[in-house]
């Protein structure tokens, strides 16, 4: 049961929204489409739902040509960014909608519909709220109803368009955990669109990174994170520190020290990138000379902002309780990256 997308192109008037997009979602997989606004993620999702047609390319599901089917026949469950709940129907009626509109023979009996609705209400932990109207629910609750409504039709694929976008941070975290559990229980192939890299890496089995309509990288969260294939992916996934250096024989040479290079790279001069948490910071020794400009205790870590002699800015991250706690604004330190990434 897999979804195969091959060389899909979509252009709006003069704007190429998707260019030669190819990837595959295996049965039961949770795929995240990750990218900044305008990268084509939502367009791709709408193509999968059948709300739009590609200019070229193919989409098949279990070998069946999906492009020949209209949205009604594709049986995809779609959760929109704005939830799109039916305002004048109760929660139960919303969930039952997909079953109620089935043509005569395919429609389940009233009893069956009720039991499906009840089962889903239990799944989304809203058993007592079936008679409420959407306007009487919180944002997080509406989100769950939208999901239950999509699941009610027993979809072959579940499409989620930035479903947690409009919610505040704590609710998002809760829902993330909850969605993971739901996916585990139902096992539906899921495509999840987001611009939040933390969310994507947290939820997905595999991540597809999109930039300006093109696929930048496909991989597991671990692969994407530790082996970003381009500067764009590296920068998108988190803070990037940059320093100029030269690579020779797989080692990066800086002024007074070296650092190992992640991945293979040809010899030459580069702007090398490194992560805030893969650094060594000390009062003396070798390294880039920097001055501390800010000390920021941010939640689970300690963050330091530093400035080099040439004005370049750096950011470092340390565990609470490490030596970094002794540093104060104005201290002159030495910054040494422990691992660098090189991109052409």
């Amino acid at each position: 049961m897999s979804l195969i997308i091959t060389n899909v192109n979509k252009t709006f008037t003069n704007f190429p929204a998707l260019r030669d997009v190819t990837f595959e979602a295996r049965s039961g997989e949770f795929i995240a489409l990750l990218g900044p606004s305008g990268s084509g993620k939502t367009t791709l999702l709408r193509l999968l739902a059948g709300l739009d047609t590609p200019n070229s390319g193919s989409i098949t599901f279990e070998g069946e040509d999906y492009l020949k089917l209209n949205p009604r026949d594709r049986r995809v469950g779609m959760v929109f960014q704005s939830y799109a709940l039916f305002r004048h129907m109760t929660v139960a009626q919303n969930i039952a909608f997909g079953l109620n509109v089935r043509p005569g023979k395919q429609r389940p009996s009233k009893v069956e519909i009720k039991s499906t609705v009840d089962r889903l209400l239990r799944l989304i932990q809203m058993e007592d709220l079936g008679k409420r109207y959407p306007s009487q629910l919180s944002g997080g609750q509406r989100q769950r109803v939208a999901l239950a409504r999509a699941l009610a039709i027993n979809p072959r694929i579940l499409l989620l368009d930035e479903p947690f976008g409009a919610l505040d941070a704590l609710v998002r975290k809760d829902l993330r955990r909850w969605l993971k559990r739901i996916h585990h229980e139902t096992g539906v192939t899921t495509i999840f669109v987001t611009h939040d890299q933390e969310e994507a890496l947290d939820l997905a089995d595999r991540v597809v990174v999109l930039k300006a309509g093109k696929v930048e990288q496909i991989g597991t969260p671990l692969e994407i994170h530790s082996q970003p294939s381009s500067a764009f992916v590296f920068d998108f996934l988190g803070s990037a520190n940059k320093a100029n250096g030269r690579i020779k024989d797989g080692v990066a040479h800086f002024d007074g020290f070296n650092a190992p290079v992640a991945g293979a790279a040809n010899d030459g001069d580069y702007t090398l990138r490194f992560r805030p948490y893969e650094v060594h910071l000390a009062r003396d020794g070798t390294g880039i000379p920097v001055t501390v400009t800010a000390v920021l205790p941010a939640g689970s870590n300690l963050r330091l902002e530093l400035k080099g002699t040439d004005g370049s800015l750096f950011e470092t991250q340390h565990q609470h309780g490490s030596a970094a706690h002794g540093f104060a604004v104005g201290d002159q330190l030495r910054l040494r990256p422990e691992r660098v990434y090189a991109y052409a």
Binding site: A49, G50, V76, F86, R87, V101, L137, I153
Partner: protein, 302 residues
């Protein structure tokens, strides 16, 4: 910033500054409250309240029995029944036809759409007397339509059917203009959600869109009804004005005035006023009911 506070100048109080009123405890920041409120209340009293008071007080000139006498007069009753029933029929027809028209104007693109859209307001903008003679001559036995229908046995002018058609003309814009903005703002995502859940276009229209349009349909219906009950100019020419058959209530008021039966005229007027207020009350209650089931906009709750 360190240093001495600047005491060189005191704050300057503008000479038209109004200190908070200790009596009311509130300040009106903007000026002109008393005068505008005064003028508004004065104007409204003069133009609306006092005249209506004169209307409401008048029927009792001959006591309660006098009023009841008018109220139970069969000619009066029949005229009220005629005015109300034709207005109701016209409002119902306009609700269905208006829904279709609003749907077509909002959802379909075709040459002449903008022109047609502007034309919807014509019954609203056209003076009632003009509409009156136009419709009357159209449906008279020598008119374009009357000459076609009368040989078939259908007499329209000077009958309640004529009144019904005139009121349909008058009420047309109300439903269309009530429904249009709601339909125009209806979110595409709701329809797409219904589509992905398996609903056909017809099912989406009936189960998802139509219920969301109910408040505006009720509003349009009520407005058309209220307007039709009291309509005079467009109806007076096409109605036969025969007592007990095709005489509308407003005409009865005019006739009573000509007979110097002020109390009688006022009595009929008061009853018509009561009918209008009941319709408004109904509309109010209906709107509150719809608001309680989730707001006044069409579309999803966010």
């Amino acid at each position: 910033m360190t240093g001495q506070p600047d005491t060189a100048t005191e704050p300057v109080i503008p000479d038209h500054f109004q200190a908070p009123h200790p009596a009311t405890g509130t300040t009106h920041v903007l000026p002109g409250f008393k005068i505008t409120l005064g003028l508004t209340v004065f104007y409204l009293s003069l133009i609306v309240v006092i005249p209506l008071a004169a209307l409401i007080a008048r029927p009792w000139e001959h006591g309660l029995s006098g009023f009841l006498f008018v109220l139970t007069d069969t000619r009066v009753l029949h005229s009220l029944w005629l005015s109300f029933f034709t207005a109701l029929a016209a409002a119902v027809v306009n609700t269905f036809a208006g829904l279709v028209v609003a749907w077509v104007l909002t959802r379909y693109n075709f040459p002449g759409r903008k022109l047609l859209d502007a034309l919807i307001d014509l019954p609203f903008a056209l003076p009632t007397a003009v509409a009156g003679i136009a419709l009357s001559s159209l449906y008279a036995s020598t008119g374009w339509i009357g000459s076609l229908t009368e040989p078939l046995g259908l007499k329209i002018a000077y009958t309640p059917i004529g009144i019904f058609l005139a009121l349909t003309f008058i009420g047309l814009p109300f439903v269309v203009r009530s429904v249009q903005p709601v339909l125009a703002e209806f979110e595409a995502e709701i329809e797409e959600a219904a589509e992905t859940l398996g609903a056909s276009a017809l099912q989406t229209a009936l189960r998802v869109i139509l219920p969301a349009l109910m408040p505006s349909l009720v509003t349009g219906f009520s407005l058309a009804l209220a307007r039709g009950v009291g309509e005079y100019g467009s109806v007076i020419f096409i109605a036969g004005n025969m007592p007990y058959i095709s005489e509308i209530a407003p005409l009865l008021i005019v006739i009573k005035l000509q007979e110097f039966d002020y109390a009688g005229a006022a009595a009929v007027g008061v009853i018509m006023l009561a009918i209008s207020l009941v319709i408004l009350l109904f509309l109010n209650i209906a709107q509150r009911y719809f608001a309680s089931v989730g707001g006044t906009n069409a579309g999803s709750a966010k």
